[in-house]
């Protein structure tokens, strides 16, 4: 199993893991009282001079672009914070494991992080099938008060009972993304919506979102086709395209990862299914476009049909303060993928929606740590998070949390590809027919 401490953040986390929390530490007044009465949760991973966060994500395999970019975006911010002295003098360290976007390794990694590494909290997980399998573990170890922060998934299980209390989400949900796509398609007369989705919890989550949104308008899913998780761009999706062609859709919403969705878009256009092909934020937009355009005479042959929903603003939009900061810190620190994950070659992207999301995740995480006077304590985390009210992350939307609001951002952005770049979609009627 791969593991690593982020290279530039070499706090001696093994020592930290064994260090005990000073009993009197608590949160600042801004976060209210420190710990809930009667709860004496252990506080490993956040004492002494560091805070250790645990991550299991896809750093290898067909979806490695997601884990790598989310990590790089987060590290750009964490490095900046550490270079400037840390949070209240404490350095932030990431303990990383690769799960290849597969549930079983993710469960094993999480057990290691919680029981052996004794990290302070779980941060930056990638994927619905992985996260949904980990959630019951958080409930099992609820006495330890280990929370999952800002997973890279918009699925419902970590937003609803019985596991919603163990996770904090920043991004908008797939339900919100799919609802927006459906409503915009319906508004422009595209009533026959088909779904191409990954045959797992992620795909089902998106499928359910599309179904619910259509139901609100008295419509049903026109057709559906699935693919196996881990499918590569070199594989064929012709069978799926043929299934959807029989449904004669006006638009297709894809709920998948970039390699499979790119293969689907390629085969759909080649086989004559020329309708808007929408993708959710999880897809990994830049990797999707790269696969579809690299080495082609006309790079827009396939990409002109794409409509991608995003949960962060465009990283090209420098009028957004957080985007300016993100671009500057990405350029300054240029975080690299840890060497142990480089068996599977990967070329980092200068900027991407995924790394921007990782960046704002890290930014909010640091803000939560700042709400503590001294060393953060697990027992005080929930109240520290709930103290975030109308907080300006710099992305044009205020972030708020509360007992009934465990998702910070609500906004969904829609983009299309122009000249190989994602730009905001301003006119849904202008989509190719």
């Amino acid at each position: 199993m791969h593991s690593s401490c982020a290279a530039a953040l070499l706090a001696p986390w093994a020592r930290l893991a064994n260090a005990a929390l000073a009993a009197g530490d608590g949160v600042s007044s801004g976060a209210g009282s420190a710990a809930a009465p009667g709860r004496q949760a252990p506080n490993r991973g956040a004492a002494g001079d560091g805070i250790v966060l645990g991550t299991s994500a896809a750093f290898t395999g067909p979806s490695r672009g997601l884990g790598n970019e989310l990590y790089r975006g987060a590290m750009a911010y964490f490095r900046q914070i550490n270079d400037s002295g840390g949070i209240n003098g404490r350095q932030i360290t990431l303990k990383l494991y690769d799960d290849g976007y597969q549930p079983d390794p993710c469960v094993q990694n999480t057990l290691k992080l919680m029981l052996e590494d004794q990290v302070f909290l779980l941060f930056g997980y990638v994927g619905t099938p992985t996260v949904t399998r980990v959630l019951p573990m958080l409930k099992k170890f609820q006495e330890e008060q280990i929370y999952m922060f800002f997973p890279f998934t918009g699925a419902q299980p970590q937003r609803e009972p019985p596991y919603g209390d163990f996770a904090f989400n920043l991004r908008a949900s797939y339900r919100q993304e799919t609802a927006g796509l459906v409503e915009n398609f319906l508004a422009t007369g595209r009533r026959r919506i088909a779904v191409f989705y990954q045959a797992d919890a992620y795909g089902r989550s998106g499928w359910a979102g599309v179904r619910a949104a259509l139901e609100n308008h008295g419509e049903t899913i026109a057709g559906e086709a699935t693919y196996q998780r881990g499918s590569r761009f070199t594989g064929t999706m012709r069978a799926q395209v043929e299934i959807l062609q029989r449904a004669a859709p006006d638009a297709v919403i894809c709920v998948g990862a970039y390699a499979a969705c790119a293969a689907f878009a390629r085969d759909a256009i080649d086989l004559g299914l020329r309708v808007p092909i929408a993708n959710l934020s999880f897809v990994g937009s830049e990797n999707l476009v790269n696969l579809l355009s690299e080495g082609r005479d006309d790079p827009e042959t396939y990409t002109r049909w794409l409509v991608n929903s995003q949960v962060v603003p465009s990283y090209e939009d420098e009028s957004v303060p957080a985007v300016r900061e993100y671009r500057e810190l990405m350029a300054r620190h240029n975080p690299q993928i840890p060497e142990q994950f480089l068996d599977d070659p990967y070329s980092p992207l200068p900027q991407s929606f995924v790394s921007l999301e990782g960046f704002v995740n890290a930014k909010l995480m640091c803000e939560i740590f700042r709400r503590f006077d001294g060393a953060p304590v697990r027992a005080g985390l929930e109240e520290a998070v709930f103290s975030i009210r109308d907080f300006d992350l710099g992305i044009g939307e205020q972030v708020s949390f509360g007992p009934e609001r465990r998702q910070g951002l609500q906004r969904v952005y829609y983009t299309v590809v122009e000249d190989g770049r994602f730009v905001p979609l301003t006119d849904w009627n202008a989509l190719p027919a």
Binding site: P103, T128, P129, T132, R133, A155, Q156, P157, E160, P161, A199, D200, A201, Y202, G203, R204, S205, W207, A208, E224, A225, T226, Y227, Q228, M237, A239, Q240, I243
Partner: protein, 254 residues
Amino acid sequence: MKVHKLFQRMRFGIFALFGLIVLSTSLLCIRTVDTELSAEYAANSESIAKTIADASVDILLNRNLATLQSLIDQFLEVQGIRYIYITDETGEFLAHTFVPGIPEVILESDPFRTEPVERSLPGMGDFLEVSSPILAGVAGTVHLGMDLDLVALKIQRAIGQQVYLISILLVVGILASIWLVNLVARPLAALLAYAVETARRPPEERALVVADEKLLERDDEVGQLARLILYMSRTRPPSDPEALPDPGAARSAA
């Protein structure tokens, strides 16, 4: 060897008996293994379907379809189970494991059916589909497809191992019977040779025929016969054939 002819019928009888035993044992074995394993797989599948149905109630009532999908994906890892799908109380497909899509045969089937049914799905194979109602059927139904080809392969392998063992026993049995028959046949052949040699000689020279000492020393019927022939060869035959000893008396003497 003429003496071996004496045992041909016996040998044929042994072969036939062993063959009958092997055939009947194999048939019984095939039937038992086939029935038992098929029943076990079907029972396991029904148990899994019921487990999913029981575990699905809260998830379905909460309309948490991602968790429902995660649940059935885990059961798909059980060997032999090739597909699972869940329909709601209206018959709508809420979660399934089919790639690239739900087969037409399934789409056209009765979603409320709970009796086991054998299905042949194009491109996928043959399946035994078992079903279990969720909340007595008012919340939906879990359907689970067990791969009959895989089950058949398992049964064939189990039967093959049993038949292999029985076949080895058959071969060992036949070889042992041949060895035992030969064990009896060999002294008989020697006795026959002695008798023929004695008969070939004129009566006055018969006493000169040398018998195999080992043959004469045997304490079984072959030895007794050999000693009888020796006795007869050394006894001058009476000029009056009427004076020949009574065969019954000879048997007694032997």
